[in-house]
């Protein structure tokens, strides 16, 4: 689509012409971007509400060019962190920078280069989708009014909403509203997108399109901070992951590193799990567990082929044998606990 390549070019030249910017926002981000260039960087960011610390000393570090998956159970403080980042609420303590600039001091310069979707869509119900976007664009001093209509229609087109552009927002469905909020983040070339649950309420096609859109935007050089509950989304999209729990950032790493750090487990499918578990323990595997028709254990330094040989040697029928790192979901649960109750 032409719109994609156009805004990509614009975002590059926009960054290049801003000579006062630090390297962080100038370099074409990618594998080779210099270490220490963060699109989002917070230091001990803290927000205390009346009787609760919603965000507790969070040191967020989102590398330029990354797609950063921001995870956490309901009420763990993701949206509050995003509000802090955008300067909507004041931190109780701590500081942060967006695109290398201190916030909120540089908000007027930085925020036009940041597209944000916070806590779901919100628009004037009696205005059309297009009129709502034009109103947002009217507030942007960095935007050229002469191109407003073209940019609005391009943004609507990118989220598949052009045919419903003249409908009143009141008449939009949940997914259409979500798409309109996404369109609002695309009104100008952005270097950073902060998206709070962007695929919430979208149909399967919409979800796929939005993921593809996020990938394209990232390929064009934008950094994406993506809060989501969909771990499959994280696995498909994200290069980095941060996990919130009870207001604290309990993990933050490149996705690959997080995976590598997870200890691989051997998994034996068998009709005699107890006997298999016995063998695993005998070989020195730790944390051995039995299931309905399987036994598992942490391999450690034991070679997998040795496990299979020993099982066969002991006459335990092996129906299947796998060695795998735990799924992201298990990692997530191990970091944030099993409990279902929200952290309030």
């Amino acid at each position: 689509m032409t719109a994609v390549s156009e805004s990509g070019a614009a975002s590059e030249s926009g960054a290049a012409s801003e000579s006062s910017q630090p390297a962080a926002s100038q370099t074409a981000p990618g594998p080779g971007h210099p270490a220490g260039s963060w699109a989002v960087e917070s230091t001990r960011l803290t927000k205390r509400f009346h009787r609760q610390v919603a965000v507790d000393s969070v040191d967020l570090a989102v590398p330029c060019g990354s797609i950063y998956g921001f995870l956490g159970p309901n009420g763990s403080g993701k949206t509050t962190t995003i509000r802090l980042l955008l300067g909507l609420i004041r931190p109780t303590a701590g500081t942060h920078r967006l695109l290398g600039q201190p916030m909120p001091a540089a908000a007027a310069r930085v925020l036009p280069r940041v597209g944000a979707l916070v806590d779901g869509p919100a628009f004037h119900p009696y205005l059309s989708g297009r009129a709502n976007l034009l109103r947002l664009d009217a507030g942007d001093r960095a935007a050229d009014p002469r191109t407003a209509h073209r940019r609005v229609d391009e943004a609507l087109d990118r989220v598949g909403l052009l045919t419903a552009a003249t409908k009143r927002y009141r008449a939009y469905s949940l997914g259409m509203r979500q798409r309109l909020a996404l369109a609002a983040t695309l009104l100008a070339p952005r270097e950073l997108l902060i998206l709070d649950e962007p695929t919430n309420g979208l149909d399967p096609q919409g979800t796929r399109e939005v993921r593809a859109l996020i990938k394209r935007l990232a390929a064009e050089g934008a950094t994406v901070l993506l809060s989501t509950h969909l771990l499959s989304e994280v696995e498909q999209l994200c290069t980095h992951v941060g996990v919130m729990h009870l207001g604290r950032l309990v993990a933050q790493a490149p996705l690959a590193e997080l995976r590598a750090g997870a200890v691989p487990r051997a998994h034996v499918d068998t009709d005699r799990p107890a006997a298999a578990a016995e063998v695993l323990r005998g070989l020195g595997l730790t944390d051995v567990r039995t299931h309905d028709a399987a036994a598992t254990g942490v391999l450690g330094s034991v070679a997998p082929e040795k496990v299979v040989a020993e099982l066969v040697h002991r006459g335990v029928a092996v129906r299947g044998f796998t060695v795998a790192a735990p799924e992201l979901e298990e990692l997530f649960v191990s970091l944030t606990g099993e409990g279902f109750d929200v952290s309030g």
Binding site: S17, R90, H124, L134
Partner: protein, 283 residues
């Protein structure tokens, strides 16, 4: 490509775009059309009623009803007098309460702020829109009244409250002066409204609060024991616009009224600023 020609983010471009967008939001809304229609209905009613049964004589205060049959312009003045205690303030209160609280209620406030529309700039634009609405509402009442009045009762030289006759053009000019003075008072109320709007996320509650301030001011003004307070009340000088219809014009009340209005506008705009620029937007 135009996106490249466009100024780099951060360029300060002076433009009326946001104000126009704000006015479009106010004047493009059906609810507000209904409100303006009610405001316009009052002079219509007065003109028709007086045409059907002309009044006998007047009581105290600026009684414009008695003069209507002699000159249509007095329909406008009568309508303004009738609407000033409640209808016009209510209209301004509804608009003013909606400015920040309405956007907070919808959640659009957070998206405006991330555009970014700076908070000070937002307040400035919102207050400008309130003032423009106050002027428009006052002029609407006057225009409908004058138009209908002139059509039904004719124009010609205007007999002032002091008994002197002035040419029609001078009468029209004085009517415009009355409108400007009334709009000043309403603009001051609008500043109170702007402040109230930064305190709440419920525009209806805000409207009620502003109307209460207005009514309370009128009520306090009628209690003689509180005479020391009267000069400082928002509405104390509101009805002094009758002084513009004397010859020579009696300026002291008008001047006092304008000063009080300016003081209220300044104080409450500052309060709104102090509140809004430090407030958490978590709606």
């Amino acid at each position: 490509m135009s996106a490249v020609d466009a100024p780099v983010a951060g360029t300060r471009r002076w433009s009326t775009r946001l104000l126009r967008s704000e006015l479009w939001l106010i004047f493009g809304r059906r609810r507000n059309w209904a409100g303006l229609a009610v405001l316009a209905a009052v002079p219509t009613l007065i003109a028709v009623a007086v045409k059907i049964s002309p009044p006998g004589g007047g009581g105290g205060g600026p009684n414009f009803f008695a003069s209507i049959t002699s000159n249509g312009l007095f329909v406008a003045l009568a309508a303004l007098t009738v609407e000033l205690p409640l209808f016009l303030p209510l209209a301004v209160a509804a608009i003013a309460a909606d400015t920040i609280a309405g956007e907070a209620n919808l959640g659009t406030l957070r998206y405006q702020l991330t555009v970014p529309v700076g908070r000070t700039r937002m307040l400035g634009v919102k207050y400008a829109a309130i003032v423009i609405f106050a002027v428009a509402a006052t002029l609407l009442v006057a225009a409908v009244g004058a138009g209908l009045g002139l059509a039904l009762f004719g124009g010609g030289p205007v007999t002032l409250l002091s008994g002197l006759q002035v040419p029609f053009a001078s009468g029209l000019l004085r009517l415009l002066g009355v409108c400007a003075y009334i709009a000043c008072g309403l603009a001051a109320l609008g500043a109170v409204g702007l402040f109230v709007s930064t305190l709440t996320e419920q525009p209806i509650g805000g409207t009620v609060a502003i109307v209460i301030v207005n009514v309370a001011s009128f009520v306090l003004d009628t209690i003689p024991q509180l005479g020391w307070l009267h000069p400082y009340l928002l509405t104390h000088h509101w009805l002094d616009y009758g002084d513009l219809l004397r010859d020579p014009v009696e300026w002291s009340g008008i001047r006092q009224g304008a000063l009080v209005a300016a003081a209220y506008a300044l104080i409450f705009c500052s309060a709104a600023w102090a509140r809004f620029t430090t407030r958490d937007v978590s709606s």
